[in-house]
């Protein structure tokens, strides 16, 4: 009886591992590559993956979002090959990685501009970085204080798991805390929707999303601390850094990338890969 059970168990195990390797028509073993992280980058990374897999049928790439924090946490826990992050690793995270013997390698793969959007009927056309900080820390609560009409400001923000949240906090709020009355919404599309519906609303979204939203929201110019005039976010101003609220987008790997990961990264940085960056609304690095 025992023997039968053992044999059955072995057979079952064999069947399961057999399934793992997927459709077994190809002779080459299928390699897997997992990419996890920034929600901002999911669209871009999926587009890369699609093209990449056309040329490399033997590599199975899986892409998941969840936020840069999630991606970095996964890299530290060793559950992803590549982490996509829309911000650099924080010191705390680097220490955590060190504790677990993970040595993150940073690769800049594209640039993104964070665009301030408001309701199309809002008369305000641009804000200074200072004004943005006052608005998002809750010190300015009415549009009339920054040259608009007498409308209360409705603050919209991403959830704290978003890389955009942390980047915005660091570079626009000058590391101050967000006003506690900011509504935290789960995704960029929810933000765009709310801004389109609410007259007093202001939100921050990636350049790609603002381009997609087109006329349903209005894009504001931003004037940096040492700039004479407000700058509108465009490909040129984001790449040159003239637009104050722009950021690099990263891949992180643990140590030197594996051969498969390296192949993928090379593709992303190739002219074809960077063309995809442009098509998805981000700004190429090269």
């Amino acid at each position: 009886m025992k023997k039968v059970a053992l044999t059955l168990g072995l057979l079952l195990a064999a069947a399961i591992t057999g399934c793992d390797s997927g459709p077994s028509q190809q002779s080459a073993p299928v390699q897997t590559l997992s990419i996890k992280g920034s929600d901002t980058m999911v669209h871009l990374v999926s587009s890369w993956t699609e093209e990449f897999m056309k040329a490399h049928a033997d590599i199975d790439v899986s892409v998941t979002g969840g936020g840069s924090g999630t991606g970095i946490a996964s890299l530290i826990n060793g559950t992803t090959d590549i982490c996509a992050a829309s911000r650099g690793m924080k010191e705390k995270e680097q220490n955590m990685a060190k504790e677990r013997n993970i040595s993150p390698v940073e690769i800049s793969v594209a640039r993104d501009g964070i665009v301030m959007v408001v309701h199309p009927e809002n008369p305000v056309n641009s804000l200074t970085i200072d004004q943005l900080r006052l608005i998002y820390t809750g010190k300015v609560t009415n549009w009339k204080e920054v040259g608009g009409s007498d409308t209360p400001i409705l603050l919209l923000s991403r959830e704290s798991s978003s890389g955009t949240f942390v980047f915005f906090q660091e570079h626009v709020l000058n590391k101050e805390d967000f006003s506690s009355s900011a509504r935290l919404l789960a995704g960029t599309s929810a933000l765009v929707q709310s801004v389109a519906a609410d007259r007093g609303a202001i939100a921050y979204v990636g350049l790609g999303f603002a381009a997609e939203a087109k006329t349903s929201v209005k894009t504001l110019g931003v004037q940096g601390a040492d700039q004479p005039n407000p700058v509108l976010p465009t490909e040129e101003t984001v790449r040159s850094g003239a637009y104050a609220v722009s950021r690099p987008l990263f891949f992180y790997t643990n140590g030197t990338p594996t051969k498969t990961a390296q192949q993928f990264i090379d593709f992303c940085l190739s002219p074809a890969g960077q063309q995809i960056v442009r098509e998805t609304g981000y700004v190429p690095v090269s």
Partner: protein, 295 residues
Amino acid sequence: MSRSRRLFITDKAMRLLLVSAASTSVLVVCLIFLFLFKEAGPFALSPGLGKLLGSQWIPVSFQEEHFGVGPLLSGSALVTALAMLVTVPISVLAAIYIAEIARPAEREVLKPFIEILASIPSVVLGFFGLLVVAPLIKTLFGLNTGLTALTGALLLSLMAIPTIISLSEDALVSVPYALKNASLALGASHLQTIFRVTLPAALPGIVAAVMLGIGRVIGETMAVLMVTGNSAILTASPLASVRTMTATIAAEMGEVPFGSVHYQALFWIGIILLVITFFLNIIAQRVLKKYGMMK
């Protein structure tokens, strides 16, 4: 091995199998408690449980992180209380109609619909809330956004109504006929009997139903995450945005570095939630048992 001995062993084995199957849920509850405390535990040593008592929830900050569950508790409480204000009258009246007044044919129609309402996935209700209820609240109250505690409460009441109707109806139906007949025989009208005799007699069951409804509502996540705006502020205004405990866990658990203070704080929220629902359930069962309404 003799036949009787083999039978004896089989009997024992079967018994063991059945006992372990029956006690799975006990085991799982214990394991969940253990697991929660294991993950949340280190927080009690550093930075200490006092941190949870604050009135600010700012888990991601370059200044100082705050893990006060005050705004989250008040958010959950506000949404739940509002939901119950809407739910209880509707559900109890509906239960009275279904149990005491409706003709069998009407009951045949009403009951399946109530069950369908119970089976709508909460994320679907969330969409409904985002696209229908929130804009409605916005125009109705002249707000600049419809993402409010009230919006969340209305959706939650949709989820609690079926639970409370079904359980209240059970309570009403289980009131002995002798009581109702005695009342009618004394010359009371049908309505007088319902409100003066049947309803008071069924009250413990209805209270228990409401408690189980609260348990359902306080643990609900997706719909409130989508429509309450999720601002962690201490407020009692139905038209302000609130952040509930469940929404906080759902929105933040994905991002936290494993084992960090923030991670442990989220597990403490989980423990608080579990303790609340645990006691609601115990009290409800006590009430039912005391008045002999346990099935």
